[in-house]
């Protein structure tokens, strides 16, 4: 009976992966809402622009690097070389943390330059949009930590790649999302 179901369900994508994709769609809508709000407001009088601190380019480098490392983690997992797998997972989580810290530095630079919540303008949007993105990266880091501890657990040997595949999909997604947001701000500022 199980084999029969397996054969009919094999073509289908894993339910958790599918759920993740739909979830990503909803995150996209949230940021689409925010960036369209930006476009609506940009044409208003009294709109003020800001300058992007350089830090945001360094953080971009960090997050792109982390996308590469998680891909390598996935590859290592599939080749069952658990040492490398753990190494790359750790590296990815670290790079994610570096990204978050760099973003916070960027925020404080901007705040220091006098971009605050008074009046209205690009700065307010930037804090909120980038801030929400940071939260999504943070969620990813937490997920990686969970996977990380699982990878060190001796109790269960698990060679099912779904969890790490989910994590890497999400990770690439927040990376791409960041690039979209950065390009959006470079474009509009």
């Amino acid at each position: 009976m199980i084999s029969a179901t397996v054969s009919t369900q094999r073509k289908k994508i894993h339910p958790h992966k599918f759920t993740l994709w739909v979830g990503l769609g909803s995150i996209v809508m949230m940021f689409a809402g925010l960036t369209s709000a930006y476009i609506v407001k940009e044409s208003q009088p009294e709109w003020t622009s800001v300058e992007l601190p350089k830090v945001f380019y360094y953080s971009t480098a960090a997050i792109i690097a982390s996308s590469i490392t998680i891909q390598m983690a996935l590859k290592a997992f599939k080749e069952r070389s658990m040492m490398n797998y753990r190494r790359f997972i750790t590296l990815t989580a670290l790079l994610g943390t570096v990204f978050i810290i760099l973003q916070l530095i960027g925020f404080s630079r901007m705040w220091g330059d006098g971009v605050d919540f008074k009046g209205s303008g690009a700065g307010q949007f930037l804090y909120i949009i980038f801030g929400l993105h940071v939260l999504h990266v943070l969620g990813g880091v937490v997920a990686l930590l969970v996977i990380f501890f699982k990878a060190f657990s001796k109790r269960v040997r698990n060679y099912n790649p779904v969890t790490i595949e989910l994590a890497s999909t999400y990770w690439h997604f927040v990376d791409l999302l960041w690039i979209y947001l950065l390009v959006f701000f470079i474009w509009t500022l």
Partner: protein, 604 residues
């Protein structure tokens, strides 16, 4: 992928089947807590949503009775009101503040907590696994979380009724500045913070639920259940979930910006505001931006409410007309068209915001286009019952009532969709009449149809029929009596959201009418209490269901045992061989989806 590798890790099992075989081993000892409270069984979660939704419906309905009392008898005082509401009804008269709080909460509660959470939550949870042939949702755990987020949201919203400055009172749409400035009104203080927190949790609940519904429908159908063999309920719930997943996050974005305006001094929505004679520092915001973000959800939201009702009605009608649904693919296609158009018409709520008339005309066109799929659906319902062998069960009655209401309310939508007319009709009682008939009452009728039809499956007993028919007739006639006259009031220019019209001489002609409406409203509310009584009485004392398939229905849920356990089917999940609507075919009243197609039969 081999199954052995996954033992001990149920969350990563590749096949749904294996997942649940495992579950059965582990879940033998169920305690009260795991069975009734933190249940992961979709059927129990559905009942939790239903009962929470019903509690909200009573509260929201009672609020409308209270403010109808004010609208019908503005010159009288009712000492008992002071007993219930305390200083909100000083000397037995509802104060302006509490009137606004009541209408705001009434709208919020009924739109979101009853007709979204209660309706989708109940029927998506209950029907999706049962009708597609799955043991449970793709992720029973997320599903449980979805209910508990709904529950916490409910608790917070409810608690806002009791804070000192009162619940939020700026309308269910929560437009700034009333929603953004604590100074704007008493309800804009803590009440609004609770409102927004509750709504944010509600959005999370909807998202978790929606993700799960979509994943379940696409991934977990039993063997043979192709998409085009699914009952229309499932299609409707599918599009509902898609609408929710794509539009609720935008509302959340709007709320986040609102929170910053409230508490961090930003000016997304605020501009040049004077309180007393002092100017606020906020400059450069746009209140209209909020309206865009709100209605980008708000319009899809009305379809989030009505699509499940449409699906339920399609299914119940076909079963009780003993005829296949007319135009199955057209039904699916029109659901799809509605789902797409739902995202393209939001600005018809904003015709009077000073929008460029040329832009307005685009939205007029797109709005009027919705009439096409809506008309297709109505046509198909009518042709389904045409020359049918109709059984007038309570579920069927409510379905017929739904169609009547949907036609009446849809027609007034076409009036409002024309921006030239809407400039006069916007924010009048005409709009109130429109959306109550087409969404409010019709949504409830869909829900009632579903409850009467699936109650035997949910609780193993029937609801009492006599009470059901009284419930139906009084509610149908009463709703028309309440809302039909409001069209005339609206055409005469009577604006919505006013506490008292007595000083407005031109509306004195409606004094008697308003009293009449208020009286009918009370009668209709009383009959809903009778329904609630019927519901709980029948859970324990109703006539027992003695056969698996009391309605002679071809869908899968009726192949489960009368009281199905967690996992739904004791043995294997049945395989599906045909679509869900083989009624009165080849001289047989119905043929179950599980019956193989015979060689001389045309396969579907």
């Amino acid at each position: 992928m081999s199954n052995e590798a996954t033992h001990g890790h149920p969350e990563v099992v590749t096949t749904h089947e294996a997942h649940h075989d495992e579950h059965h081993v582990h879940h033998h000892k169920e305690t009260f807590i795991t069975k009734y409270v933190f249940s992961q069984d979709h059927k129990m979660i559905a009942r939790q949503f239903l009962i929470t939704g019903m509690a909200w419906a009573i509260i929201g309905g009672l609020m409308s009775v209270l403010f109808r009392l004010q609208l019908g008898y503005p010159d009288q005082s009712f000492p008992f009101l002071e007993d219930i509401l305390g200083r909100w009804a000083k000397d037995g008269k509802i104060t302006a503040e509490s009137y606004y709080a009541l209408v705001t909460m009434h709208g919020t509660v009924l739109v979101f907590f009853v007709l979204t959470g209660g309706l989708s939550g109940t029927f998506a949870n209950f029907l999706i696994p049962l009708q597609i042939g799955a043991r449970d949702m793709a992720s029973p755990f997320l599903n449980m979380l979805s209910y508990w987020f709904f529950f916490i949201a409910s608790v917070i919203m409810f608690s806002s009724l009791f804070v000192q400055t009162g619940p939020f009172s700026g309308g269910w749409t929560a437009y700034p500045p009333l929603s953004a400035l604590g100074e704007a009104s008493p309800g804009s203080k803590v009440g609004m913070d609770l409102w927004i927190t509750s709504m944010a949790l509600f959005v999370v609940s909807s998202l978790l639920g929606g993700l799960n519904y979509i994943a379940t429908i696409l991934n977990m159908r039993t063997k043979g259940m192709s998409m085009t063999r699914m009952p229309l309920t499932i299609w409707a719930l599918f599009f509902t979930a898609v609408l929710g997943v794509l539009s609720f996050p935008v509302l959340l974005s709007g709320f986040i910006l609102l929170l910053f305006d409230r508490h961090a001094g930003t000016s997304f929505y605020l501009d040049s505001i004077y309180i007393g004679s002092a100017a606020l520092p906020n400059e450069g915001g746009s209140a209209i931006l909020y309206q865009h973000l709100f209605w980008f959800l708000g319009h899809p939201e009305v379809y989030i409410i009505i699509l499940p009702a449409m699906g339920i009605v399609s299914e119940v009608m076909s079963v009780n007309a003993r005829k296949p649904i007319f135009g199955y693919m057209a039904m699916v296609g029109s659901l799809f068209a509605i789902a797409i158009l739902a995202f393209l018409v939001w600005a018809h709520h904003m015709f009077v915001t000073g929008m460029n008339p040329f832009l307005g005309s685009v939205f007029v066109l797109l709005t009027l286009l919705i009439a096409i799929p809506s008309a297709i659906k109505v046509f198909n319902w009518l042709t389904t019952i045409w020359r049918g062998n109709i059984r007038f069960t309570p579920g069927m009655m409510f379905s017929l009532g739904f169609v009547s209401l949907f036609i009446s309310g849809g027609l007034t939508g076409i009036f409002l969709g024309n921006s030239a007319l809407d400039i006069a009709l916007h924010d009048t009682y005409f709009v109130i009449a429109h959306f109550h008939i087409v969404m409010g009452v019709a949504g409830f009728f869909g829900m009632f149809a579903g409850i009467y039809h699936w109650f035997p499956k949910m609780f193993g007993r029937f609801l009492n029929n006599t009470m059901a028919y009284i419930h139906f007739w009084v509610t149908l006639i009463g709703s028309y009596l309440i809302f039909w006259p409001m069209h005339y009031e609206g055409l005469a220019g009577m604006p919505r959201r006013y506490l008292d019209y007595t000083n407005w001489l031109s509306f004195n002609q409606f004094d008697g009418l308003n009293k009449f409406i208020s009286t009918v409203a009370m009668v209709v509310f009383a009959v809903q209490l009778m329904f609630i009584f019927n519901f709980f009485y029948s859970i324990f004392k109703g006539r027992r269901v003695t056969v698996k398939n009391p309605w002679g229905s071809s869908t899968l849920e009726w192949t489960t045992p009368i009281v199905a356990g967690h996992g739904n089917w004791p043995g294997e999940i049945p395989e599906v061989h045909r679509w869900a609507y083989d009624y009165s075919k080849d001289g047989r009243e119905y043929i179950s989806q599980t019956e193989p197609v015979t060689p001389d039969e045309k396969p579907h």
